[in-house]
Amino acid sequence: MSAEAVSCTIKSPVALQIGDAVSDSSRPGVYITDITLAEPVNIQEISFKNYYTAYLTVRLQRREESSAKWVTCLRNYCLMANPHAEAGSHDYFSIYRQQMLTEPDNVTTVRLILRQPSSEWLNFSIEEINIYSCAKEDSEGDVPAWLSTLTPVEEPLDLNGLPDPETVSSSIQQMWALTEIMQASQTAASIGRFDVEGSYDIKLLSYT
């Protein structure tokens, strides 16, 4: 899971209204926000803070070989159980790729469609949108080298004339453990051999 959000540009929301946007005085019930991503991303998670949005639909534009396709990955996701009530109106949400209808890979644009059917609220939106990409492949496969050599060798070794590896290994292990004990007990305490009242001056070595 990556810790940093992918950089993206969030455009200002566009309201969908019937009729002329300027002259019509009724409040819109649908806002659409587009987010463009700098480069195609495999999305792991989209997180945001809600502000009185009731339902969310997410559409993705994927870059495929030749064309760009729009797919719906989340349809009418309910953010507020009761659009007239406060519950869920200020909550933080995270949408993971497992919840999405299609694989959010190679995504170039994300379109968020916000719906609020209730007339209670003057305004609604979502804020603090962050998109996280999938963890890189090699970090998941980053197994330490010694771990992969743990499986025992298939063909039996010819131990003719060689000392018993169990005894030898057990002695080496104890010697290693004793050295570790010694190293762990090393303290940074010093005897102040070269200190002159706390300072180091090679011309003024004093015998205290």
């Binding site: 290994s169 290693w176 007990s185 090393q186 010093s190």
Partner: protein
């Protein structure tokens, strides 16, 4: 032993000199604390000769109470305390070190006001520890060169503890390396093959040089390097075939090489 008499019992005039009961007498003399301390030490160290151990314990207590004795006596008393517990019994060992440190500090207190053990006493203690642990002078001298102090210097408790622990652990380490040599040598009377010895020492050095990281990861990685399978592989690679006439390494050289691996990791005292 006299029977206990309850305090306040009616006493005759002839016994009025002993106007206290036995229990009061014992508590005034502090004998119960004394015996408790002696028994605790006995249980901690579990010597083979309990009576001799108790005799030494009380002899040391009485000579400490006299507040006299030469420095040599102080060193031998401190060494006796340090021999009571093995370094693996961590808390008992630490408390014995504390007692020894106090003993050695008090010894020099008359001459100087600075706290800590005089360097000469510290060095002497370490030398005796090494020889008591079965280390020869030549084996112990590189280690002592790293951790000893000048005669005039004053050793604080942390350094004292570290020095004592290092010497005790080193004595065990050398004993283990002797067992290792015996395991590598094919027969008790014949020296071991040089290639085998070098392979075994190289395995140990690799495990010790495991890169820094979280402690747990380091331990896992090091223990993977010295598992029996890896050791067998290293030995088979070093000694293919059955040539018995290759150059050999004798026990002393092996011991010195193993000691060098340990001593290289001991921090020098400055």
């Amino acid at each position: 032993m006299a029977e206990k008499r309850r305090a306040g019992a009616v006493m005759s005039d002839s016994a009025s000199a002993k106007c206290e009961s036995d229990r009061e007498f014992l508590s005034q003399a502090g004998v119960s604390a004394l015996l408790r301390g002696a028994l605790l030490k006995l249980v901690e160290s579990r010597p083979e000769d309990p009576v001799g151990f108790l005799a030494e314990h009380f002899a040391h207590l009485s000579s400490e109470a006299e507040d006299g004795g030469s420095e040599h006596q102080a060193v031998s008393r401190a060494l006796w305390h340090l021999s009571l517990a093995h370094h693996s019994q961590r808390s008992a060992f630490n408390s014995n070190i504390r007692v020894a440190y106090e003993l050695l500090t008090q010894c020099g207190r008359r001459q100087r006001g600075v706290g800590g053990v005089r360097g000469r006493l510290y060095t002497e203690t370490l030398q005796c520890l090494c020889s008591e642990g079965g280390l020869s002078g030549t084996t112990a001298s590189p280690l002592l060169r790293r951790i000893q102090c000048h005669d005039f210097e004053s050793v604080p408790f942390e350094l004292f503890r570290q020095g004592v622990l290092t010497c005790s652990v080193f004595a065990d380490y050398i004993r283990k390396s002797q067992c290792l040599y015996a395991a590598v040598a094919s027969a008790p009377d014949r020296p071991a093959e040089r290639t085998l010895c070098q392979a075994v020492l190289a395995t140990l050095r690799e495990a010790l040089e495991t890169a820094d990281g979280a402690d747990v990861a380091r331990y896992l990685e090091a223990s993977a390097k010295i598992s029996p399978a890896k050791v067998a592989l290293a030995m088979a690679e070093a000694h293919p075939g059955k040539q018995q006439d290759g150059p050999t390494m004798d026990a002393q050289e092996f011991e010195d090489a193993a000691a060098a691996l340990f001593i290289a990791r001991v921090r020098m005292v400055t």
